[in-house]
Symmetry: C2
Subunit: 567 residues, 2 copies
Amino acid sequence: MCREDAIRIVAVGANAAGLRAAARAKRLLPNASVTVIDRGKLISYGACGMPYLVSGDIETADTLRETAYGVIRDQDFFRKAKGLEVVVQTEVERIDREGRKVVCKSLLTGETTVYPYDKLILATGAIPLVPPGIPRNNPRVSTFRILEEGIVLRKALQSGQIEKIGLVGAGPIGCELAEACTAMWGAKAILFDAAANILPAMLDPEMARIVETYLKGEKIEIHTNSPLQGVVESKEGVTVKTPKGDFDVDHVIIAIGVKPDSTLAANCGLTIGKTGGIFVDEKMTTSDPNIFAAGDCVELKHLVSGKIVILPLGSLANREGRVIGSNLGGGDERFGPVVGSAAVKVFDMNISSTGLTAKAAEEAGFNVGVAWGSFTDRADYYPGFENLHLKLVYDRKTTKLLGLQGISKGEVVKRVDVFASLLKHGGKLEDLLDAEFAYAPPFAPAVDPLYSIACTARNELFEGIHSLSPDTDLDDRFVVDVRRAKEASDRPLPEQNTKNVPFEEFRVNCDQVPKDQNVVCVCSKGVRSAEAVRILKDKGCPNVKYVGGGSLMKLAQKAWDRQEEAL
Amino acid sequence: MCREDAIRIVAVGANAAGLRAAARAKRLLPNASVTVIDRGKLISYGACGMPYLVSGDIETADTLRETAYGVIRDQDFFRKAKGLEVVVQTEVERIDREGRKVVCKSLLTGETTVYPYDKLILATGAIPLVPPGIPRNNPRVSTFRILEEGIVLRKALQSGQIEKIGLVGAGPIGCELAEACTAMWGAKAILFDAAANILPAMLDPEMARIVETYLKGEKIEIHTNSPLQGVVESKEGVTVKTPKGDFDVDHVIIAIGVKPDSTLAANCGLTIGKTGGIFVDEKMTTSDPNIFAAGDCVELKHLVSGKIVILPLGSLANREGRVIGSNLGGGDERFGPVVGSAAVKVFDMNISSTGLTAKAAEEAGFNVGVAWGSFTDRADYYPGFENLHLKLVYDRKTTKLLGLQGISKGEVVKRVDVFASLLKHGGKLEDLLDAEFAYAPPFAPAVDPLYSIACTARNELFEGIHSLSPDTDLDDRFVVDVRRAKEASDRPLPEQNTKNVPFEEFRVNCDQVPKDQNVVCVCSKGVRSAEAVRILKDKGCPNVKYVGGGSLMKLAQKAWDRQEEAL
């Protein structure tokens, strides 16, 4: 006779989602037998840390497999410490839903084993997307998904086999690898992306341009609007073919994205969404009430766009896993719609975003309003402060927040996380004005950038103080540079048609600005110039705007070094 | 004939709240005449930056008076750039509400001037609390409120006149000054506080103890439970008298808090609250519809406790000022109840909190639950990560969040700001599980500390996994150290009655733990030990708990250096 909780739980996939679900279930159901099956040899590693293994910041791959107290998370660890049976190098061939069993084959011996289950957890992860026709058996062509690939890449860089690398896909992984190959090992990295800009899921073009300019300053070669047309093997390496030309490199990494690994689920008749991800409800149950799924193999609902999306993020996988484990143990936990927060550090630049880009928001049908701003991440008198560039995306009709993009060498993720918290609660512009920030000069300005950018948006929406994107070509406008004379001469605007009318004297001298022209005001951050717009409008200047984010954002599109001087 | 918006606005107080309100009103009402009156000579300075002027991190006082683009914010600046008339060194003697005018006296000439107003803004700030009997005319006894005081203190330290300083009041300013006097100038700093711990408004005792231990390591002398009994002048300095003894110092700073400067408001019959602050509604209107008030002189409602409080914070003053300015300009903005977020950096330690401490929550009548945890601020494999200690305060009946306290040499303010955002929306423990964090190894662990500590709280509340405060004396319990043998021997627990049963083998060896005793499990962070508690309870051990925050928090109470070795 068995106790009620002596059920058999099987999980497929021994990384974040599968192990978290399995371990949590075992904690709540100590009499359950819990088996986790994985096709890989190495399990439970910090995959997001792989770029730092490649870069040499992390010395050995074992670091990514260790607990914080230095124990390798292998089968032995999970058996003894967690009470889980982990079976590695074993492929699940088939799920027999009627018979409630999974049929497995050892990748070492070819032997077949059958594991019966009462509850099954699918955490089969995702598969790198590789366009057809790309040679897969050439060691110079690889993806960057499993730890073994990271180990091989590190060795090749460290030994000097790779002096020039092509990185196809300029998402977070491509960008992190560009640094990893360059900073320590001195390899030349060439980044390609089919989109108009790098980091296209996180940033709109004019924001990405700042990062692109910065990366170029770090000697990274970047080709956007460059979809991969093929990889051709040559005697000494491989050639990456794009509309922009052919590029000979020693190695190419295909990092254009992943697709959910839902084959097993599809083959046993579980519902698969249009995205290719396994359908789950908010309790992470698949279309079979005895089968649950979590991690990169499932599709999720985006809270802001309302669309069904694929969001392969380790942070979500962990949370989803806990929901399954808790519910197996008798709980009633839910996993809500997601807002898609992301962050990436490349060299000294921190980039983070949440919600929708302006492009995505337009595609989702919103009446999109945007605001740009340059700020300091800490009090502007506190030593070591850094500039912070933000772009806010909101709905003009409802004032609902839709997204935030931030770039800084200093603190930017905090603002994104607070913003995401408001997104989760359907926050509006006015909620940013109500947000409370723990303030001291080493941490923030007295008025937080999130507050200020909400003011900027509201000033535009309700008071008609209009801004232009910092990448706007101003050649056909009358440009009023309201910076101090020295600022203007030290870091001049590129436009010929520029007149310097410093803000300190602007109320007196604003008659110098013609009323019959298209006028645009520029200052360093977008604060003085917005105020100048207001003064000009009051004086009867009908057509006047300012450059959002100021010269700091405008010039950062061209040359990051110039911006640095500005500090 | 005058235009409708050509009203006369007078503001009293030319710092954050008054100037922000005045400037915003002027922007919206360009035909208004706006006058700002201040008794001081220096206006519009970053008062929160004064400790960094004292420390030498900021070279000159002018830095605190400058805009980000290097213009001093003096009367001339406000006149030309902002269109405001600022009158300094002028005391407002009386408000004639019926006649709608303020009667002023120049502190330089004694001359009386009368300013009529249509709308009046009171931003009179706060006055340092100084106990009766403290000598006020001795230059060796000062407060730390206005910039002139900061300048004098800096000079005295720099010239070596102060080698030993008494700091009465161990709030943020006292702690910042302790560093400021010590780090650059090598003065000996002695901190006194009447409360049981330093930073009593931000931290509960066991959290404050970590900071106290750290500060002692930086050679700061600390005396808590030491109310000031008097300051006696001596030939060579002053003597600070406390129940702990007499302390001879070269200088003493009284920084025990402030009281709202509401005399002017009281004298003209405006409603003053029990706190001594000016009563305002959510539009920042006083009991007279033509008079508004903002900044340190008003009282506010605390969102979590529901109590009326005084919260003299520059970040709030700015926001309150904008509300007044917007409303004067025809807007309809509100200033909601506050949660009281705060942050302070002392040497390399970042301390931040929001909402209520456990002590304050108990006083407010909540059914208080707490959770402690030690985490890493970034991925624990990412180079340079720092430990992060959190204490979560929640209501056991409703699971509503009440407060958060955090201490780290790394990122802690982000967690407090996100938490504050949830507090603003009446968030519960489960909202922390639903929060989404922008994740990459340089910014956070895959599972954010805020998520983890919510799990800790829920595991206690719903699953009976009970923790003890890290400062609990364990001498009468059977202590099970579940850390690895090397961890346990390198950083031993002080208790004699300790048995090491490493977690990796705990499921096999847990029979070594007696079932008939009061058992407490300890690991480094509170994760393994919580799991050990669960295993022991499953095995029939009735009375078992673990130390919240683990040995890292427990030992940090005793010696910070030891904890550092642990990294």
